[in-house]
Amino acid sequence: MVMVFFTSLMEDGLPTEMPVGVVDLDNTSTSRSLTHRLDAFQMSRVVAHYPSVTEARRAIQKNEIYAFFYIPKGTTSDLLAGRQPKVSFYYSYTTLASGALLMKDLKTITTLGSAAVGQATMRAKGFTDEQIQTFLQPIRIDLHQIANPWTSYNSYLSTMLVPGMIMLFIFLISAYSLGTELKFGSSKEWLELADNRIVVALIGKFLPQTLIWLAIVYGYEFYVFYVLQFPHLGSPWMLVLLGFMQVLAAQGFGIFIFGLMPSLRMSMSVCSLWAVLSFSMVGSAFPVMGMDGPLQSLSWLFPLRHYYMVYQIAVFNGFPLLEAWFHFAGLAAFTLLPWLVIRKIKNAMLTYVYIP
C-alpha cells in the first residue's frame, strides 16, 4: 500500500509542467519568443499572463502559479541598442523542489537568450562557430552524476520512506504482540508453552513474524529494484543481507522498548514517536552533517539511520561493505539489544497485571 503510494506519486521522478506566469510589459516578438521558449521546457508551463507584478504575486499567494517571469518595458530596444536590459524571475521557495527546478530552467533560458545575441554579433564580425562557442563558454563543466544519472527524486525518497515505514510497522507490531499477551492475560500460558524459558518463548513468537517481514521486505526490494529498475550498483546479495539486517534490527528495537517499558500503550507510543522522528534524523532530505553536533551523535540511536547509510554506501554506490562497517555494526547492535532486557520482560510477563 505505502509502496504503491510513493512510487506512483513520483512516477515521473521529476515534477514536470509546473504552472508559471508571465508579466510581459514589453510585448515584442523577442519577449514573446522568450515566453514561448519557457513554455517549451519540460518543467514549466506558462498558464497565464498578468498585467502587473502585484497581480502575479497575488497569484502565487493563491497557489495558482509557482513562479513568474518579468520582462520590463523596453527590453527589446535596450537589447538591440546594447544597453544590457534586465529581466527578472520571481520564484517561490516555499516548495523547495519546484523553486529549485524552475530556477534552473530560467537560468538556461536567459543564458541562451543572451548567447543568441552574442552569437549574432560575433557572426557578423566573421568568427567561426567553434570560436564563438569557445568564446561564449571558455570552461565547460562536465557533470557525472554517479549512480543516479536522471536526478530522479523517486529513487531518493522511495528508497528511504518505504523501508522507514516497514521498520515503523515492525517496531509497532513487535511491541504490540508482546503487549497484547499482557493485556489479554495470556502471558503466563505463553511462557508455559516454552517451559518458562523466555528465550525460547521469544524466538517462538517472533520467528514467524520475522519470516513475514522478510517476505514483505524482499517483495519491496524486488519490486523497486527489478520491476521499476531503480539505480543500484551493489550486488543483489547485498540487498538480501541488508533486508535481513533491517528486519532483525527493527524487531530487536521493538522488543527492547517493550522491555524498558512493559506496558502496551507506553511502549507503542515511544516506538511510534521514535520511528516518526527517524524520518528526519535519517538525513536523506536534509543531511546529517548539516545538523548540530549533538544531533549528529543522536542520529546513531536510530536504526533507520544505520540502514540508510549501509544502503547508500553498499547498495546505491556499490562500494564494499567494509566501508560501512560502523553502520553495519550498529544494525547488529540493535538486533542484540533485547538481551539486555530479557529478564525484565520475563518478570513482567509473570507478575504484571494489565492496568488500562
Binding site: 523547495l96 529549485a100 536526478t151 504490540y176 500503550r265 507510543s269 511510534s272 544531533l295
Partner: protein, 399 residues
C-alpha cells in the same frame, strides 16, 4: 458541564493521553526546529584531482574553496584515490581538472572540468555542482573580456552578458530547508496528536467500562449533542493553548519567516482545530482498540505530509490521491497556513481553504453525532437485553 469535567479528569489521569496531548505538541516542534535550524548545508567536503598543476587550475581550486558551499578537503593523485575517499564518506564529490586545462584555454579551445557527484544526497549535489558552474562562469567571463577586443569596460560587460537576469527567490529568501518543511510539519503535528489523543482516551474509556462500551449508562450521557459538545469543549480548551504555542511561539523562537499577524491565524486555526477534533471523535468511534488508532494515524502521517504539497508540487500528484487527501483537515490546514505565514497572503486569498475547513467541521460534527448516537443506541440495546436476562434469571430463582 459534567461530561466536560469527566473528560478533563480522564485526560489528565491517563498518561498515554497526556503524552499525546501535552508532551508531544510541546517537545516535537522544538526537536524538529532544532534539526532543521541550520537550514542549508555549507562547506560540503570535496576532493580535487589536479592533473594540470598550473596557476589557472589552482585559481579554480581557490575560488571553489572560497565559496560558501564547498570546502576542498583533500587533494588526490588520481581518480582511484578520490573514489576511495568518496566511498569512505569523507568527501561528497570530485573535481577533476585534466592535464590540458590551461593549454586549451590559452589555445582558445573549450576546456573541460569534470565533476563527479555522490548522488545520494540532493543538497550536497546541488552545492557541489552549482559552485563548479558558478566558478567556471566567473573565470569564463574573465577570459572572455581579455579576448574580446573591446573599447570600453562597459562594452566588455555587455559583450559577456547582453541580457542580464535577476533571480529573486521570494517568501523564503535563504532557500532554507527548515523554513520550507517546518510550517507543514507543525500543522500536521496538531492534527495527528489530537486524533491520537482522542482515540486513546476513547479506548481507555471503553476498557474502563464494564461492558466494553464507549458511553456509560448514566444520567448526563443521555443526549448526543451534550456528549459531543462537552467532550469537544474539553479538547478545544487544551488545543487552543497548544495551537497558539505551535503557530505563534515556535516559529518565533527559531526565527522562521512569519508574515501573518494573529487575526488571520485565528481565522484559520479556529475551524482547523474544530475540524480536527470532530474528525478525531469520528475516528475514535470507528476504531475499536486504541492501539489500532495509533497504527492507523502514525501510518498515514508521512503520506499526509506529502499530500499537502509542501515537498512535492501539487500539480504533479495524481487526482486519485488528491481526492483521498481531501478527507483529512490537515491537507487544507497546511496549505492555508503556509500561504498565510510564509507568503503573507491575506484571509481573502485562502478563503476557499477556510470554507472547506468549516465544511469539514460541520460534516464531522454531524458524523460524530451520528456515530455517538449509534453508540448510545448499542449501549441501551445491550443494557435492555442484560436487564431482560437478569429479570428472567431472577424470576427463575423466585420460582
Amino acid at each position: 458541564m459534567y461530561i466536560w469535567r469527566q473528560e478533563m479528569m480522564q485526560v489528565f489521569k491517563d498518561e498515554g493521553v497526556l503524552i499525546f496531548f501535552i508532551i508531544v505538541p510541546l517537545v516535537y516542534p522544538l526537536l524538529y526546529s532544532w534539526i532543521y535550524n541550520n537550514e542549508t548545508v555549507h562547506e560540503v567536503p570535496v576532493v580535487v584531482v589536479d592533473d594540470s598543476h598550473t596557476s589557472l587550475s589552482r585559481q579554480f581550486i581557490r575560488m571553489c574553496d572560497a565559496s560558501p558551499d564547498v570546502h576542498v578537503a583533500y587533494y588526490a593523485q588520481d581518480l582511484d584515490e578520490a573514489k576511495s575517499l568518496v566511498s569512505r564518506q569523507l568527501v561528497r564529490g570530485v573535481y577533476l581538472i585534466p592535464s590540458d586545462f590551461e593549454t586549451k584555454v590559452n589555445r582558445m579551445e573549450q576546456a573541460t572540468i569534470s565533476v563527479y557527484c555522490d548522488m545520494s544526497l540532493m543538497l550536497t549535489y546541488k552545492a557541489i555542482f552549482q559552485t563548479a558552474q558558478l566558478v567556471s562562469m566567473q573565470m569564463g567571463s574573465a577570459i572572455q573580456t581579455k579576448l574580446g577586443q573591446h573599447y570600453t569596460k562597459r562594452e566588455e560587460v555587455i559583450a559577456a552578458r547582453p541580457l542580464a537576469c535577476d533571480e529573486v527567490p521570494i517568501f523564503n529568501p535563504s532557500g532554507g530547508y527548515g523554513s520550507f518543511v517546518l510550517p507543514g510539519v507543525l500543522i500536521l503535528i496538531l492534527q495527528q496528536t489530537l486524533v491520537l489523543g482522542i482515540g486513546m482516551s476513547a479506548g481507555t474509556a471503553r476498557e474502563r467500562n464494564r461492558y466494553r462500551q464507549l458511553i456509560p449508562i448514566s444520567r448526563p450521557y443521555q443526549n448526543v449533542f451534550r456528549i459531543v459538545l462537552g467532550k469537544s469543549l474539553c479538547y478545544f480548551m487544551i488545543y487552543a493553548l497548544m495551537g497558539a504555542w505551535l503557530v505563534i511561539l515556535v516559529p518565533r523562537l527559531f526565527h522562521f519567516p512569519q508574515l501573518a499577524t494573529w487575526q488571520p491565524l485565528l481565522w484559520l486555526m479556529l475551524p482547523y482545530t474544530l475540524a480536527c477534533i470532530f474528525f478525531g471523535m469520528v475516528v475514535s468511534c470507528i476504531v475499536r482498540y486504541r492501539e489500532n488508532v495509533m497504527l492507523l494515524m502514525v501510518f498515514v502521517s508521512v503520506p499526509l505530509l506529502f499530500m499537502t504539497g509542501v515537498s512535492w508540487p501539487l500539480s504533479n500528484i495524481s487526482g486519485f490521491w488528491q481526492g483521498v487527501s481531501w478527507v483529512f483537515p490537515s491537507t487544507f490546514g497546511v496549505k492555508a497556513y503556509v500561504r498565510l505565514n510564509s507568503m503573507g497572503a491575506c484571509v481573502g486569498d485562502v478563503s476557499t481553504e477556510i470554507m472547506v475547513l468549516w465544511l469539514h467541521t460541520f460534516l464531522y460534527f454531524w458524523l460524530a453525532c451520528v456515530v455517538y448516537g449509534y453508540q448510545i443506541y448499542i449501549t441501551r440495546y445491550e443494557a435492555f437485553w442484560r436487564y431482560r436476562e437478569m429479570k428472567a434469571r431472577k424470576d427463575a430463582i423466585n420460582k
